[in-house]
């Protein structure tokens, strides 16, 4: 029977060959004539891995480092890849307890057994060094490096700001960011975000089905390197800043120091403050909540956000406006008539210079009446409307009542209030108010509020004898950038420099002559010119002082504001300002006893005031 069916071998062979042809045909269909699968393949097997650029550093005006980056390490784990694992040895090496280990492991497993997740966040270089050489024993674990901001000195927290993870609004606004990226949240970190962040690099990696990277695509042919962020060269004087913060310890308030000729911010303190390193790394969340819920609001930059009644420092501006309007002359005198408005005991002022020196309230009552009611209209109401409009125009030219265009986040900036006619119309009705309704403005009380940076700016205007340059914190950045155009422009008040000479002379007298209100701001040989203010409010009076020094060719203009200090501007703010001037111009403070006293004293011990928050070790 063997060969009866020999022909059937052909049937079998034909079946084999037909299947072979079928397969080759099917392969051709999939591989040659159907681009669909090739496209799908690309989508799924490659992943763009972002390479983060180093964030730019921040320097002070003398080149001292304020902010830099430091490497920290995230310990990553891929649970499924753990092999031959000695848990006890691992826990001991990394320095965690067994319970802690189990908890973290459960979390990682829950996230994904295959994909890498963070096992331990932000391990410092020192901690990592302790188990770096043992890492090879921990299969399934690996280290991922990232950088953290390090603030070299614990100063200028509110100015420098902090960096945090992007939120949904950031993601929606700017496609540069991806979930989990870091972004400047406040201060310079925010306003110069685009300068500091640099340009991300891109790496194309092969990934497997569990999203693990298995190697570079085409040996990195299409990869781009990250470009480091630019460094910021700020105008801050780190030493002055630190010194000002020390002086403002145990107090609430703020200090703004400017260089009048350039508008550069030398120091900006908001007290109470905090160590900016608190908002970095693993401890950030906890500290953020603590700082954020602190009733003393340490994260608030009072120098930009605070809106205070200016008190008597406003009289300097009032004098200039009145002189320019011609409603008074430099020699105009008014009797100190306390029936108009309260005043302290002093001889009547016989000139503008004396009025500034003695800070006579009735004098400015009279001056302001002449400004508001210039007699252009018969109706005092209409007349007051006209007067207020003119006056407000002037005040805006002083930088009041508007956001100064400083290079810090606009959201963290207040306008202050220079009321306009609409404002009073809303309160009292149209033509239902006149000078007598608003006279409190004359002495910097009432509806007028001013932001501390605007006060410092006022000092700078007098120092410059009539103009200011918008205050700014950054001089330049990157290799060859120049200072922004808007920070070279002179903003003129349009008032004659001679009038400002009078103001300067008055302010000189405030510090230097008998009867001046701020003798405590005196610094030997520095010709400090200042003006005190005592702003009434619901609690204890705020103590205000603005000054500049020296009188000719001024180097520094200052505003010091101490909230709820018992005693006037001369008692608290003025001596602090004096010490700062001395520190800045002379480089060191000789009056150690005074320095010690103001560092330690708490002017408002009755109020709950949190202590300066120290970094937790």
């Amino acid at each position: 029977m063997s060969n009866r069916y020999a022909d059937r071998s052909h049937v079998v062979k034909i079946i084999f060959i037909v299947v072979g042809v079928l397969f080759v045909g099917r392969l051709a269909m999939l591989q040659l004539f159907n681009p669909k699968y090739r496209e799908l393949a690309k989508l799924q097997s490659l992943r763009n891995v972002t390479q983060y650029p180093a964030r730019g550093f921040i320097y002070d005006r003398h080149g001292a480092l304020l902010v830099h980056n430091e490497a920290v390490y995230d310990l990553m784990v891929v649970p499924r890849m753990i092999k031959d694992f000695d848990t006890a040895y691992f826990c001991e090496s990394v320095g965690i307890t067994r319970e802690d280990f189990n908890e973290r492991m459960t979390k990682a497993r829950k996230y994904s057994p295959y994909a890498a997740s963070i096992f331990m966040k932000q391990i410092s270089k020192e901690e990592y060094a302790k188990f770096e050489n043992k890492m090879f024993r921990f299969k399934g674990f690996y280290i991922s490096q990232r950088t953290l901001r390090i603030y070299d000195r614990p100063i200028a927290a509110q100015v420098l700001g902090y960096v945090g993870e992007v939120n949904q609004a950031d993601l929606d606004r700017d496609t540069y960011y991806r979930q989990g990226d870091y972004i400047g949240k406040s201060g310079l970190e925010k306003s110069y975000e685009e300068v500091l962040r640099g340009v991300k690099g891109k790496k194309i990696m092969h990934v497997d089905v569990h999203n693990r990277e298995v190697g570079p695509y085409r040996n990195g042919e299409f990869d781009t390197l990250p470009v480091e962020g630019y460094n910021l060269y700020t105008t801050l004087d780190a030493d002055l800043q630190a010194y000002a913060e020390e002086l403002m310890a145990n107090k609430r308030g703020c200090v703004v120091a400017l260089e009048p000729s350039t508008g550069e911010v030398l120091a900006m303190v908001s007290a109470p403050t905090y160590d900016p390193n608190l908002l970095v790394g693993r401890i950030r969340g906890e500290n953020y909540n603590r700082l954020n819920s602190d009733i003393a609001k340490p994260m608030l930059n009072r120098a930009l956000m605070g809106q205070y009644p200016p008190g008597s420092i406003f009289k300097v501006a009032q004098s200039m406006v009145a002189l320019d309007l011609g409603v008074i002359t430099p020699g105009t005198g008014f009797v100190c008539d306390k029936s108009l408005v309260g005043c302290h005991n002093h001889p009547s002022a016989r000139s503008v210079q004396e009025a500034i020196k003695m800070s006579c309230n009735p004098y400015y009552y009279q001056v302001y009446r002449r400004v508001i009611q210039q007699g252009k209209y018969k109706s005092i109401y209409k007349d007051s409307q006209y007067g207020l409009t003119v006056w407000r125009e002037y005040m805006l030219r002083f930088g009041f009542g508007q956001k100064l265009d400083i290079d810090l986040p606009k959201g963290g900036l207040s306008t202050g209030n220079i009321p306009d006619t609409a404002y009073y119309n809303r309160w009292y009705g149209k033509e239902r108010w006149a000078f007598s309704t608003i006279y409190s403005n004359s002495i910097g009380q009432g509806e007028v509020t001013v932001v501390p940076i605007q006060m410092a700016n006022l000092a700078a205007i007098v120092a410059n004898r009539g103009y200011y340059i918008t205050p700014h914190v950054v001089r330049y950045y990157g290799p060859d950038s120049l200072c922004d155009e808007r920070y070279r422009e002179h903003h003129e008040t349009g008032i004659k420099p001679e009038y400002f000479d009078i103001a300067a002379a008055g302010m000189y007298d405030v510090v230097h002559t008998a009867g001046g209100t701020a003798r405590r701001a005196y610094v030997d040989g520095l010709d400090v010119c200042g003006k005190t203010g005592t702003a009434e409010n619901f609690g204890n009076d705020h103590s205000v002082f603005i000054c500049f020094a020296p009188k000719n060719d001024p180097k520094i203009a200052l505003a010091v504001y101490v909230e709820n200090a018992q005693g006037g501007g001369g008692t608290w703010a003025a001596p602090i300002a004096g010490l700062l001037v001395e520190k800045y111009i002379n480089g060191e403070v000789k009056r150690k006893d005074v320095e010690k006293m103001y560092k330690e004293i708490n002017p408002c011990q009755k109020l709950p005031l949190t202590r300066r928050v120290k970094k937790k070790k």
């Binding site: 029977m1 062979k13 099917r26 591989q31 799924q44 092969h206 089905v209």
Partner: protein, 418 residues
């Protein structure tokens, strides 16, 4: 006794060696990892496979130098031993991927079902070569069927449906020995009807079949006898019964994952994350290869675990991705050449035993090729059986090599009668 010189068929040996080595290259690529590029590392798949290849080559040499009479005389004992192993496996199996076909001895796992193939082939060949065999007699058919059904049933009980299916391969040698060709036709018609029954409305299908019967009777046949009418009616009734039993089989006999795989294949469901995942990924990987492929070790998908069971049942994906249409076609052609060669070799045998065994070898390899590559290409539902010589796995490599080399050894001294 006259000692014939060994005339080894070097073409089959060469094809075997090429397929095995190329298979290993692809296993290396599929499990390749730059960190652990060492060739011989027993922790890696390619390292283990290399070890198995060594064992396999030793075994091949051993078989070539063995006495062929051992296989013909030992056919039944070998069969008995392997069947016993299969029974033992049912009780001692380690569960791997839901199957219970593995037993573990001293840290080494192997799959007795792989060895059942050549054991059955030997036993059936032995039975069919008996001088007094008469294929016309019913008991011959029954005994032959039982010889195949025992291992197939045992393997099926191990939840290894794929390997059980392989025993269908014996249809080809039996066909060659005189089994009615109708069985192939009936089998083919049954598969087509099964698929159509799942896809098309059953009554429409039945109507179409009736039309075919009418066409057959009144157009095709010139003369019709009463017998023709009855035959046509009978076939129609059987088909109808089959069609209506499909639903029952589909819903009650098949397991849910098997149902899903068939649904996916027929395009009734598109579940790219679930049961359709493997095949979809596999098609992507192969499709992305294009004409010449991405180059050896440059596959992006297969290297990265996108295709599950990459190194075992889906190893052909790696070929498709890295070697493209040209490379994968060459592999298919190599297999077909080997199969045709084996059939030709079988035909030149003087003994029925050798011829039957030769056909068995070709057929078993063919079923594996058909099911495995068909699955990878999305032509056959997902059935997990390895690609001979190619897939990762010591048991299968060793078993296929034994299967093949016994035949090469028989062929080497084909003029002797066993």
């Amino acid at each position: 006794m006259y000692q014939e010189r060994l005339k080894i068929d070097w073409l089959s040996v060469a094809l075997w060696a090429v397929l095995m080595l190329f298979g290993w290259m692809n296993i290396y690529s599929a499990t390749y990892n730059e960190g652990h590029a060492a060739l011989f590392d027993l922790k890696t798949f390619h390292g283990k496979q290399l070890l198995w290849m060594g064992v396999t080559v030793l075994m091949a040499v051993l078989i070539l130098f063995s006495e062929p009479r051992f296989f013909s005389n030992g056919a039944y004992p070998i069969y008995a031993v392997v069947m016993a192993l299969l029974v033992v496996t049912l009780f001692l199996a380690v569960t791997v991927n839901g199957g219970k076909s593995w037993i573990e001895i001293g840290g080494f796992r192997f799959q007795p079902s792989e060895f059942a193939k050549f054991a059955t082939a030997l036993a059936l060949a032995k039975y069919m070569s008996a001088i007094d065999i008469d294929w016309k007699q019913l008991h011959t058919k029954v005994i032959a069927l039982v010889l195949v059904a025992i291992p197939a049933g045992l393997v099926f009980l191990q939840h290894d449906t794929g390997s059980a299916l392989v025993f269908v391969a014996f249809v080809f040698p039996l066909f060659r020995e005189g089994l009615s060709g109708g069985i192939l036709v009936v089998g083919a018609v049954a598969v087509v009807l099964f698929i159509l029954a799942l896809l098309v409305n059953k009554y429409i299908l039945l109507g179409a079949l009736a039309l075919v019967a009418v066409f057959y009777l009144f157009v095709w046949l010139n003369k019709r006898s009463a017998k023709d009418y009855w035959r046509a009616l009978g076939v129609l009734v059987v088909c109808a019964a089959f069609i209506f039993s499909v639903d029952f089989v589909f819903n009650h006999v098949l397991e849910s994952h098997q149902r899903e795989r068939i649904d996916v294949l027929l395009g009734k469901t598109e579940d790219l994350r679930g049961s359709g995942y493997n095949v979809h990924q596999s098609k992507i990987a192969i499709g992305s290869g294009g004409l010449i492929g991405k180059g050896y070790l440059h596959g992006t998908l297969t290297k990265a675990d996108f295709v599950p069971e990459q190194h075992t049942d889906f190893i052909f994906c790696t070929v498709g991705e890295e070697w493209g249409w040209l490379g994968s076609s060459v592999v298919v052609v190599l297999y077909i050449v080997l199969l045709v060669r084996l059939v030709n070799m079988a035909e030149r045998q003087r003994s029925t035993f050798s011829r039957f065994y030769g056909y068995s070898v070709a057929s078993i390899l063919f079923i594996h090729l058909f099911v495995n590559v068909g699955m990878v290409l999305g032509l056959v539902p997902v059935i997990g059986i390895p690609l001979p010589f190619f897939s990762y796995g010591g048991s299968s490599l060793l078993a296929f090599t034994i299967l093949l080399f016994i035949f090469i050894r028989l062929d080497a001294t084909k003029n002797q009668l066993y």
